[in-house]
């Protein structure tokens, strides 16, 4: 029983982390809390579904969905954020703009797809169950875990081991200085939004497969989970988001198993509020969350 | 009256203020001088509570104040102006000053909402007090003009009026003559001396040495965040360390 919960928490946590990485990346680089991030997640899931419905194999649908939601992220920045950034608008304005964009994207999905829950066709992924003593795990769950971890490792390499990553970190540290050092700040920002969107899209397809339920409103609950995760890890903190994803999945899974399924959401929000009140910079955070 | 003991303020690795100790005596005008970047404004921020020292103690009227929030410090009797004028731009001069009178009012929300006589009497009294301050600072012509429509020199005087409106016993001024012409500067000097005559204590940051000589009883000289000299104006001005600090700064700015 316990080990089964651990297994569930691990693959779920991996997807939570994947989703939250893009969320926290944009905050880390630009200081923007992009509340439209969950809408990119939702669009990614729909695009993945459309690809599959069009007869494409899953291994192709996933990257296509990622590219699409990545491009959507870039577009989002150009339309909703860039003007504000150039004007040096207050945080509040950016936050509101992202809320507007998210409403737009959700409504558009309602129109383009359907407000109903859509599902992947049966058998899109081979149903295979492995049993290991008291623990069972499906091939789908193993794949989700493997793919999430692979993407996260790739991201880590991208940010820590490449010139692009170096430039990104420089912009995150201080865009003005970065520009003076000859770093193409605007391109770095576009790449950041592409990455964030792609990560959200990947999480959308994977969780869409796992729960086999895709709807324009699937971003809502995920938004609050994502916020909990990135606050846990410290806004803008990459390692923190991974840690936070697993903390959230473990506390959710364990509270369902040992307390009551009604308390699943409650646990995550209580966690969120406790962290905000007592460690607003997150478990690993440094920057200051309190007012000056 | 105000006592600073071993104050240090670090910004990252840089110590903007290090081990500063000095006192401001009641009823005197103390000058705080030093080259650009010496840490004068930082020190004022520490005293007024907008910033906290990394270490050290600040005592005002024998009470530690270095951990109090700014509004508490103001309520104890310390008011200030800003080097980069920070008036409430769209408000009129009169309104700016009435905001400064916040702590003199008592009327609560309810009595304002119901326009009780007590509220109206208080409003009348505040307006009269504000009008007196406006007159004292020679701002009658602009009382109802938006604050950002005034000239630099006039805005500085509005800032002083707003600070005085809080009824301070210690007034902190950050470069009050910047942007003023010679006549305005001389009049400001007279004002400060007349405030001193009313037993107001003043700590003033200034670059204009004539002005310092006109109003100050004592000066404290800051360089690279440290006190390098203090005492009577003439004595300090002859101090070779001070001359070096200023000449050094001159040379740097010419380089």
């Amino acid at each position: 029983m316990f080990w089964q919960q651990v297994v569930n928490a691990i693959w779920l946590g991996a997807v939570y982390s994947l989703f939250s990485l893009g969320y926290t990346l944009v905050f880390g680089v630009l200081g923007i809390l992009n509340l439209a991030h969950p809408s990119l997640y939702m669009w990614g899931a729909f695009i993945g579904l459309m690809c599959v419905n069009a007869g494409l194999p899953l291994w192709l649908a996933l990257p296509l969905a990622m590219i699409f939601s990545g491009l959507m992220g870039v577009l989002l920045d150009r339309i909703a954020f860039k003007t504000l950034r150039d004007r040096n608008a207050p945080h509040l304005a950016t936050l509101i703009s992202s809320i507007g964009a998210s409403i737009f994207l959700i409504s558009a999905a309602q129109g383009v797809f359907s407000a109903q829950v859509s599902r992947f066709p049966f058998g899109v992924f081979p149903v295979k169950v492995f049993t290991l003593g008291p623990v069972t795990i499906t091939l789908l769950q193993i794949s989700i875990l493997a793919i999430s971890l692979a993407i996260m490792l790739f991201l880590r390499w991208l940010l820590m081991g490449t010139k692009l990553g170096q430039a990104t970190r420089a912009v995150a540290f201080n865009p003005v200085t970065a520009a003076r050092l000859g770093i193409p700040v605007d391109r770095v920002i576009m790449q950041t939004f592409f990455l964030a969107g792609a990560l959200a899209g990947a999480a959308g397809v994977l969780l869409g497969l796992a729960f086999n339920a895709i709807s324009p409103f699937m971003g809502g609950p995920m938004n609050l989970k994502g916020l909990t995760v990135i606050v846990l890890g410290g806004l803008g903190n990459i390692e923190g988001a991974v840690l936070g994803g697993f903390i959230l999945s473990f506390s959710e899974v364990m509270s369902v198993a040992y307390l009551s399924s009604d308390l699943r959401d409650a646990v995550s929000f209580v966690l969120l509020l406790i962290i905000l009140l007592f460690r607003p910079n997150g478990l690993l955070g440094r920057s200051s969350a309190k007012r000056a | 009256m105000l006592r600073l003991k071993n104050i240090t303020r670090q910004f990252g690795g840089l110590a903007a203020i290090s081990q500063v100790s000095f006192s401001v005596n009641a009823g005197q005008v103390t000058g705080l001088i030093g080259p650009n970047g010496a840490g004068k404004t930082t020190l004022l921020n520490l005293i007024s509570g907008l910033d906290q020292p990394t270490s050290g103690e600040i005592h005002f009227l024998e009470r530690p104040i270095h951990h109090l929030p700014p509004h508490k410090i103001n309520q104890l009797g310390i008011a200030r102006t800003y080097q980069n004028i920070r008036l409430f731009a769209e408000m009129s001069v009169l309104e700016n000053i009435i905001v400064g009178m916040h702590t003199q009012g008592r009327a609560g929300l309810l009595s304002a909402a119901l326009m009780l006589p007590a509220y109206r009497a208080e409003e009348r009294r505040l307006r009269e007090d504000a009008a007196r301050l406006i007159e004292r600072l020679g701002l009658q012509a602009f009382a109802n003009a938006p604050a950002d429509a005034l000239s630099y020199g006039d805005q500085r005087r509005v800032e002083i009026a707003r600070a005085l409106a809080t009824h301070p016993t210690l007034l902190l001024l950050d470069e009050p003559t910047a942007g003023m012409n010679a006549a305005e500067t001389a009049r400001l000097g007279d004002l400060i001396l007349s405030l001193r005559a009313e037993r107001l204590t003043v700590l003033v940051i200034e670059h204009d040495m004539t002005f310092i000589a006109q109003v100050c009883d004592r000066v404290v000289v800051l360089n690279f965040g440290e006190v390098i000299a203090q005492g009577a104006v003439d004595v300090v001005r002859a101090n070779p360390l001070v001359i070096d600090a200023y000449l050094g700064a001159e040379e740097n700015s010419h380089a």
Binding site: A101, R291, A292 | G100
Partner: protein, 292 residues
Amino acid sequence: MTVFTQFWSTYGSVVQFALINMLLGISIYFTLYTGLLSLANAGFMAVGAYVSAILTIHAGTPLPISLLAGAFSAGFIGWLLGLPVLRLRDVYLAIATLGFGEIVRITAVNFDKFSGLTLLGGAQGLDGIPKLTTPAGLIFSLILLSFFLIQFHRSRAGRALAAIRRDENVAATMGIDVAGYKLLAFVLGAFVAGLAGGFSAHLTRFVGPNDFTFSAAVNILAFAVLGGTAHWAGPLLGAAILTVLPEALRFMGEYRGIVNGLILVLVILYLPRGLFNPKWLTRRKEAGHAQA
């Protein structure tokens, strides 16, 4: 007269919803005016709705008493929440208040189950609330509130908030207790939101846990953003427009929500002060200045 009755039978409820939304606009005005981005107003609305509905149903209290009880409860919860949460910076405050809305929802869903009472109606919500809300009652409250706002802005507290809005550090060095006044604005906003919740419960005859989630919070925010927050009339205008607009956009069907999102983004980008310009009210005074 027949024209009026015809109009009223078709649009009467829209008008009443517009009036309730205007109350909500005022509720968020208090916080936004003070520079706080709080998304807790939907949660406060829920508190007011549940408390007033329960009183009316179980204690048979007359509407004004139920409404006031709801509003005071919301104000009290606002005080409890505001004390710890208002120390947080912009983005963190937004997240914390979002989390609060979710906690209200979860509490509403689970309260009966865990307390063994039948009060809140769980996930189904409470229905059968007597329809006591009248247009006259709404208009009376709005007029009363407007009068209060006019007086408020002339008062000591109103001036303190105006100073905090412009420069909170300077306000603090003028002896203004910035944290205290922010809490006051937060509590006043909660109170008015609770009042609106009570009216709404007694108009739709129903209170459900899902009426007050993120999207409700965002709608309230949209009133203020569209109308502008420099003057309290701004959110009133915004609320009126955004309530009537969906009626006018019925022909757009599923895509209706797009307009809401688009408005939010466009207003923030191109009309950052909102539609309502306070100068409309003060033109005569300005002319006076010019002569002085």
